[in-house]
Amino acid sequence: MKLTAFRRFHCFSWKQPITKSLRIMKLTTVLLLAACLQVAASAGGQTVTLNVRDVPVKKVFKEIQRQTGLNIFIDEAVLSKTKRVTLQVKDMPVTEVISLCLPGQDVNSSIIDGTIVIREKTDADYPLGEYQMPPPPIDIEGQVVNEKGDPLEFVTVTVKGSRKATYTDVNGRFSLKNVSENAVLVFTGVSVETFELPVSGRTSFAVSLKTKVSAMDDVTVVFNTGFQTISRERSTGSYNVISKEQLEKPSVNIAQRIIGTTAGVQARLDVNGNPTFEIRGLTSLYANAQPLVVVDGFPIQGDFTSVNPNDIESISILKDAAAASIWGARSANGVIVITTKTARKGTPLKVEFNVFTRIGSKFDLDYVRPLASSAETVEYEKIAYTNWRTLQNPNSLQDNGFSFSLAGTALNEANFGYITAAERDARLEALKKLDNRDQISDYLLENPRNTQYNISLSGSSGRMANMLSLMYEDNQTNFKESKSKRYMVTYRNNVNVFKWLDFNVSGMYLVNDQDNSGVGLGDIQGMSPYDMLVNDDGSLTNINRFYWPIIQRLVPTSKFPYTDWTYNPIQEIQNRELTSKTSIARIQAGLTFKILPGLSIESRGQFENVNTYNRGFNNENTFQVRNTVNQATYWNQTVTPHTFTLNLPKGGMLTQNRSEVKNYNWRNQVNFNRIFFSDHEVNVIGGAEINNIVTETNAYPTSYGYNDQTLTVGTFPNGPGGTFFPIRNWLGNNQTFTYTNSFAYRTERYFSFFGNAAYTFKRKYTLSGSYRTDASNLITDDPDYRYAPFWSVGAGWQVSGEDFMQGVDWVDRLYLRATYGFNGNVDRSTSFRPLIATSGTPNVYSNDFTATISSFGNPTLRWEKTANWNIGVDYSLFRNKLYGKIDVYHKSGRDLIALLSIPAINGTTSQRLNNAAMINRGIELELGSNLKVNKNISWRGNLNFAYNHNEITKLFVANYAASTLYSGGTGAYVVGENANDIWRFRYAGVINNQPQVYGAKGVTYDFGAFTPGDGREYMQNMGTTVAPYTLGFMNAFQIYDFNFSFIFTGKFGHVFQRMGFNYPPTWTSRVLPNSKLSEVMNGDPSKIVPLPLNANEPRYYFWDRFHQYLDYLVVNASHVRMQEVNLTYGLPRTILSKLSMSRMLLYVQGNDLFTIYANDAGEDPEYPLGTMNPRPRFTFGLKCEF
């Protein structure tokens, strides 16, 4: 697909290099026309057929080029003398046609390596008649671009037969001094076909090179580390670059584009498409385990959502020490480097417009809210009420909080004689027939929708290049009233101020307006299946939050501030505004001083500001307000008549909090790139940077009695309560209200030195090294401890460049690399000495300010370090039919911060100490293939596979209670095991009518009390919840103008807990048996926990400490997901030219269409039953370029 896309693209933009060169490159003496054509190994025998009348010669050349696939390279001096020609030839050799086109000109046309070079005959073309003095050497300079006019970096320019060489900079520019007029320049690069060009006395060159077919799959062949770009052939580290075509597909969050593309990057998306990543396993036990995200050279505070997905030029993923250690202390989890698009120098105005809309289906309520049916629920409630219940008398006001279901209420009312048995049965039967799924779907759910518009303008004039993009996005979540709007503006500008000075500035501003007024999944899951939302007459029901008959019988609601004490989610979402507004501004500017060829100094800075404002307004129609005000009212029942004292004003309630992050970076860096004596390439950077991140948060106290129209607020009529001025609530209990603001202010500072050097000999052997020291404002008595040296070394060997490989023609490329080094992680919450945390507000009872010890001291304090080695092979075989890479790595984390057991006499039983160790080792394979059936049909596939093994090798925890182990997370870290393992009880069947689990030494325990002893001795380690094996499989077919692609991802070898029955007792709220009820009813009690076998089971409520943590619920989590299917239609050139467009694509894309699981439970392991699972979504879009 890449191949075809590129071809087409090239074909309608081919003439731009010419016009540009003619217009701009006045000094150019040579013009090279490059065409994108199939490999033309031998051009000599090529012929052309022409029938033209009075056309410019240029047009003829274009046609020759089209027919032969040869580059045509013509001296401007020759071209300027051409006239219009008329030709009629058939199968005439190329050279002859050319001479026909240039009548009367003394030209020499020769075919060199697939290129026809046409120039005026010079002295060199005549035989030497006599001895001539060699001409004086000259200085030359030039620019190298590809077919699209994009500058090519890291193209080596060698003077043939000499040791003089250089390579091109980021703008594709090169210069060489003291070159002989008669020298021949050789241009070589990883991604381009080698090309030779005689200097012929010229001093300025514009060279357009042809992209190698083999490199088309990796259009971006330079890796961006955020500090520099490194060409693939000179890198020793493990990098991945996301292909451009992958980046071009529609996405709301750019991080989605990474999924499935890169071996060793495990991603998980939430239901709204926001990802979390894990690169090469878990590297830190307690510190942040997310990779560092770098945009245009600086780490950002906002996440991926602060990057316009349409603006991305490239994404590099840095995985090993050599790649990432330049990021030092924050790199252990890997680094994701995003580079945004810039306008190319010398390109006229280009407009890109993109619009798409994505729509998904509503939630399947049986999946996200897996409750038993109404009839089953009522039947279960009957048994649960009779046998396993808490026993409350509905006569007591104190029991108002028992929000029994309608069935539970009926059972309880009948039991106490408030209703007859017949009435009870009638109510129960009626409930059995109700089903609220349709109402929930209609009134509370929505189809998730997403519409994005983006327009970008880019172009340059003279020495200045500009790019502007505007984006607008409209999102609707799965829940009614929960939606968001996102606006983004990005501007970038590059100026070549002087020959020796570049200046660039860019800015981004994002506003994200989110409305979260809708219900949450919990609200839906908390309703009985027969809790209807709307009555038949259209009025709203009461989804009672109390034992309703108590309110009706005992509470004089009319005397309370709000008579209505009912709750209904529809009313709630319509009468509240829960909003969150985020704005992110980012400004970056840099100066680059080009001091000497190959040597430059850069000074760059970035300022970022992230503001978040959360606001929750509930008006007085909400239950939230009515209930709060009513409950705060003191109902004095000891006097007659009763008195009702308002302790909160009536009216709306407003909660607000704000946070602001201010982040600046300033970096000064020296870059040096030189080739000495042709064989010695040196690439060095070094510099220093500072980074300051300040986070301020501010929470306001709730404003009671707030009126959104008049902006008036109420006061506490009797004060906020407390020991010295107590106030009581409706039940006579004491109450207090928060009435103060609270503030937090955090500062994160770093100061770093860094350096990176690479040396390549004969373009075959590369040695690299990096060093970085990061000092942070962690708290220490000894400033030396702040500095953490991280370093790496690496070596690379271009095996395919060796002489002995020249005969092995099935190997196109073979590159071996090995690296070793350290990455780090920082925890700034501890110090050698104890630290405290202070309260921002006085204690409400004592009116004192208080403080707690936040850290008991960490005498082992240092930086977490991960030693990291990586060995890799890059290969390309069988004329690029098969290409890819293999990486093997071993990461060994030491001095990791962990919560370790220490004797309690130290004030705490556990303390964060730098005293744990963990390893990650693994292998990653990437395999790509191209198959071209014919000119119009081709296939490209890419398969990546990764294996990771994680093990905690050092950690001291004295004792693991069973409950700590089964709860997982940091408490379940066990030495010798994978950090992501889960532990479960072994179910032992039923003994004495009680389900049992195995304890130590085979003793069984029932579910009535916690099991004693160390859980490691008797619980079962069920395996890891993070897949050790991951697979990504991308396929792309190009069939004429259609492009069809799909991505599968697979994760294997891990486990997850499927949903089991929830064994609900009648307790203080609704009894909600889930849809696994029948599994238990029909199950074998020796294999699955049955419903209680005793009529009276007093500790049934305690069973939840066991039934959720049994071995049989843990099942295989392996699955294969159809991540994405995309069909794109590109309008053919003929139509495009009529529309004066350069490109137009129409596409339809499907995401999350289906998943194949290895478990029988029918659950998606990443989104198990009862959680929000992404439903199939379809995207329809249009992209065009002018």
Binding site: Q398, I595, I690, G732, N733, T747, P834, A837, I905, N906
Partner: protein, 516 residues
């Protein structure tokens, strides 16, 4: 020409860079000295911060001393009560502490008392480590020092009286406690001899007694911080435990001179929110029962009533995680059930129903003070009257002893002839004071009292404990087996509770277990 220009630029940049490099090197440490947060992860620099640490009563007030709760004869879980609903007593710690278990208790994984007291000691040590280096007035620092020494003395005393043998001439050299006097993790973990522990307590107490902070400030009794009344009150308790009755009386008087408010149960005590439960539901015997609690039961989280209890000299509460102080029949029999208002309000009838014993119903009371789980354990004015009475009785001042006792009784009983007790002689006075002490401070002080009764010069008050219950394992009560008799004789080594095993593991064996 061109070359010169480049050189100029180069020099300019070089100089500028070097200038910035030099400037930045000297500034880097300043740049990095900025604290990571203004409210969390703070280095201690001011006396106000240390004050804030000690103000945090939530760290200090709670004592989860299960040895005290279950170990004495105030607590009794009978076979009959257990059989009525075993599920209520599913925590094995209940059985093990009640029966003075040795083999299984070290593995109990809900230990909070040992670690909790050492956490308080850490806070105190933090204050003492920093107090000389922080900014603050000398007066404030003196108060902080006295406060920290007081916290430490108090914690070492309760730890010693729980995990070590009673302190006598004979046990001086027995293994005591690890003594931590700083915040360093490098200090020795080893348990020091008992004599050293008591020397430390006395040294800390001597420092604490230097406090000049009054209990009542601006009309508020600030009993969550060390104060003159608290320190003297604890000194009275300490010397009573050391059988120095003269000193005990002296300190009790000093405490009372500072603060002597008693809560008059006749006028200030009242019932709180009632609770109605259904008994034997679904059976022909179905009925309703309404429990009456003292008002102090109302709030679990809200501290208004707890901090508002007027008798505290120092705010400490015994905390019972299983929510049922089961009064023994012996304790119940001590009360005048008609006229003693402590019985009326604190002995809650039918509390067993609240604990789930409703079907079939089984009626047994519970001792309730604050919510279901907490009873006062810090020194109170009531305790001062009792210490004074006991000290006077032992020094043969019978009338004085009875006067002190009756001052308290007047606030606890309905008015009548039964209020004022008289004693015939020293032994009678000691007996009557002991009984009143049990009525006034069940569970919280009884364990400590038994330890001193059994080790003083006075033999009449000795108590050999015995309980009968089913045999048990580390995980279950063997209720099918016949009931056994368990005893704790006065000279048993089990008066020292076993240490949690995690301590032995975490210290690599440096902390040793008690020997039995």
């Amino acid at each position: 020409m061109k070359q010169i220009k480049y050189n100029q630029i180069y020099k300019f940049i070089l100089v500028t860079t070097m200038f910035f490099a030099v400037v930045s090197c000297s500034k880097v440490n300043n740049f990095l000295d900025e604290p990571p947060s203004k409210t969390t992860s703070l280095v201690i620099t001011t006396a106000d911060q240390l004050d804030a640490l000690l103000n945090n009563y939530s760290i200090f007030y709670s004592e989860g001393n299960r040895t005290a709760i279950y170990g004495s004869d105030d607590y009794e879980l009978t076979k009959a009560l257990y059989d009525a609903r075993p599920g209520t007593f599913s925590s094995m710690a209940t059985i093990q502490f009640m029966l003075w278990d040795i083999p299984f208790l070290p593995d109990d994984n809900r230990e909070v008392f040992w670690s909790g007291e050492y956490r308080k000691i850490f806070y105190a040590n933090t204050v003492l480590d920093y107090v000389d280096d922080v900014t603050g007035t000398d007066e404030q620092k003196a108060a902080l020092k006295a406060d920290a020494h007081f916290v430490r003395a108090y914690s070492y005393w309760v730890l010693a009286n729980t995990y070590t043998l009673p302190y006598t001439e004979a046990t001086k050299g027995e293994v005591g406690l690890p003594i931590k006097l700083s915040t360093s993790f490098q200090e020795s973990f080893a348990r020091q001899p008992l004599s050293k522990v008591y020397e430390q307590i006395e040294a800390d107490l001597a420092e604490a007694l230097k406090t000049t902070v009054p209990l009542v400030q601006s009309g508020k009794a600030r009993h969550w911080r060390a104060n003159k009344a608290a320190v003297n009150g604890f000194a009275a308790r300490y010397w009573l435990s050391r059988h120095d009755y003269a000193k005990a009386v002296d300190f009790a008087n000093k405490a009372l001179a500072e603060y002597s408010v008693l809560v008059d149960y006749n006028t200030e005590m009242r019932y709180g929110n009632p609770q109605t439960l259904t008994l034997n539901s679904g059976t022909p015997q179905q009925s309703s029962f309404t429990l009456q609690y003292p008002y102090t039961h109302n709030n679990q989280i809200d501290f208004t009533d707890m901090l508002g209890w007027k008798e505290f000299l120092y705010f400490r509460l015994l905390n019972h995680e299983s929510w049922w102080y089961i009064p023994s029949q012996e304790l119940l029999n001590l009360y005048d059930q008609t006229n003693d208002l402590r019985f009326r309000y604190h002995i809650v009838e039918g509390y067993s129903y609240d604990r789930g014993m409703t079907k079939p119903s089984y009626n047994y009371p519970g001792y309730i003070f604050f919510f279901k789980d907490r009873v006062p354990s810090g020194p109170t004015t009531a305790e001062m009257y009792l210490i004074k009475a006991e000290g006077l009785a032992h020094t043969n001042q019978v009338t004085g002893a009875m006067d002190a006792l009756n001052t308290l009784r007047a606030k606890r009983m309905t008015p009548g002839a039964w209020v004022n007790l008289t004693a015939t002689d020293k032994d009678d006075a000691i007996k009557k004071v002991g009984e009143e002490r049990r009525r006034e401070m069940p569970f919280s002080q009884r364990w400590f009292d038994l330890r001193r009764y059994n080790n003083n010069q006075y033999a009449n008050d000795d108590v050999n404990l015995s309980k009968s219950f089913y045999p048990y394992t580390n995980s279950a009560v063997q209720s099918t087996q016949p009931v056994q008799n368990y005893t704790l004789p006065k000279n048993s080594r089990r008066w020292a509770t076993p240490l949690p095993r995690t301590e032995l593991i975490s210290s690599n064996g440096e902390i040793v277990q008690n020997t039995y």
